[in-house]
């Protein structure tokens, strides 16, 4: 049996009276690459922030690597990339990596290695502010890779990137998962989902589907994740409608 890296039990998050996540239950196995897919506003970022411990829960329980989300020990175990690149714009790429590297205890060799993985060697000595949006996103990703964290939570890391680079990064993610690391990668673009073996589909703060992509396609009798998503939404609205009818 596979080890679970992330276990969510009916987690709820309310912000200013609005329910952002409504009873999310899911399991993410260690050593897998899971795509967290949903339209914008579906709660992807809030779920990710809950996993890394930056968002307090209103209800339910959330465990990461056997520890309660937000535990001090988890800070060494999770690499996190925010949606907008969280880097210092007035530092060079290398200076950014060296600072965050010092915090997670990365060696100089690790910094060089990570720089290669995200293909930024050519701009290593450029200031963050002079980089393109895609390059900044890659610096942000590189920082998350520095600590060799067993769990990686990446919020839309490939948005706006060159298709070739996107393919390379997806290859890198698959490779990291093969090394036994757990990756949760969010996207609002459905075709990104085609590259993931496992999917967690989110809509309006609820889980539409959680499991293997092949099961999803078989279950909904469709050929693409986008079609499957539509089938699931239709099914969810009819069941909600019939429940209302019973009342």
């Amino acid at each position: 049996m596979l080890e679970t890296a992330i276990t969510a039990q009916a987690i709820t998050v309310k912000k200013q009276g609005r329910e952002i996540l409504s009873g999310i239950t899911c399991q993410i196995n260690a050593g897998t690459l899971t795509g967290l897919i949903g339209p914008s506003g579906s709660g992807k970022t809030t779920l990710m922030r809950s996993i890394i411990g930056a968002q307090r829960l209103s209800g339910g329980s959330l465990q990461v690597a056997g520890l309660k989300a937000g535990s001090k020990q988890l800070r060494k175990q999770i690499g996190y990339v925010t949606q907008s690149p969280a880097i210092y714009h007035d530092l060079t790429v290398l200076q950014n990596l060296h600072y965050f590297g010092a915090i997670v205890g990365a060696s100089k060799r690790k910094v060089t290695e990570v720089l290669e993985q995200v293909d930024l060697q050519s701009v290593a000595r450029q200031l963050g502010s002079t980089l393109s949006g895609g390059q900044q996103a890659r610096v942000s990703l590189a920082i998350a890779l520095l600590g060799d964290a067993p769990v990686l939570v990446l919020d839309e890391p490939t948005v706006g990137l060159d298709p070739l680079l996107r393919r390379d990064l997806c290859g890198l993610f698959t490779q990291l998962a093969a090394q036994g690391r757990t990756l949760l990668v969010s996207s609002h673009v459905m075709d990104e989902a085609e590259r993931c073996d496992r999917l967690l589909l989110l809509r309006s703060g609820k889980v539409l589907f959680s499991g293997a992509k092949n099961d999803l396609l078989v279950h909904t009798a469709t050929h693409s994740v986008e079609d499957a998503f539509l089938v699931l939404i239709a099914a969810a609205t009819t069941s909600a409608g019939s429940q209302k009818g019973q009342n």
Partner: protein, 245 residues
Amino acid sequence: MHPKLTLATMRRVLTQLLHDPRTIGLMFVVPCVLLGLLAWMYQSTPHMFDRVGPALLGIFPFVVMFLITSVATLRERSSGTLERLMALPIGKFDFILGYALAFGLLAVVQATLASEIAIHVYGMHVAGPEYLVLVVALADALLGMALGLFVSAFARTEFQAVQFLPALILPQFLLCGLLVAVDALPGFLHGVARCLPLTYAVDAMGKVSAQANIPHAAYHDILVVVAFGAAALMLGAATLRRSSR
């Protein structure tokens, strides 16, 4: 707390500033020019310059550090780097002390430059030892930094952060004893002035520069300034949240 991470943060903050030479230039040049202006204004009454000059030597680092720290920490909050750091194995005090060391170092350079020029070029007369002038200036800088860190938590934009200067710093300047002696203030304002840290900062500078034998009260003033700074740092640390509701 890990001293290694405190030092790494200090180095990082200084490196950021090194990429912004104009800010550093303004920080170091503006106080020297303003003191020159003051010396010129008081050309015919040098004893007034000897009274106001040292007080301003204490006020400059206070104001500059307040501004720089509130904007710098606001940037960390809005760029997402603070949230990122708070999800990593670095202590809040490593972060805060890193900033304190970096800006404290700048404050030392600023205060040294300004006081050396004021004393040796503009002829400001300081009765006490010069190093004490620096100690007071440094205590003021730390106080400004700590207050800046604290108020940055209440500002959403850089516009708001800058508005805290007239809101929090200007009243302290008006009441600190430079314009009207604290003892000559009406009863209520006298009480208010006695609760504001800048009053003690200016009083300390006045005592250090006026008497060769430093009275104990001057050390007491310095301690009060440092205590205010430490309290503001604690409050500032409390505004660094690892998780939000």
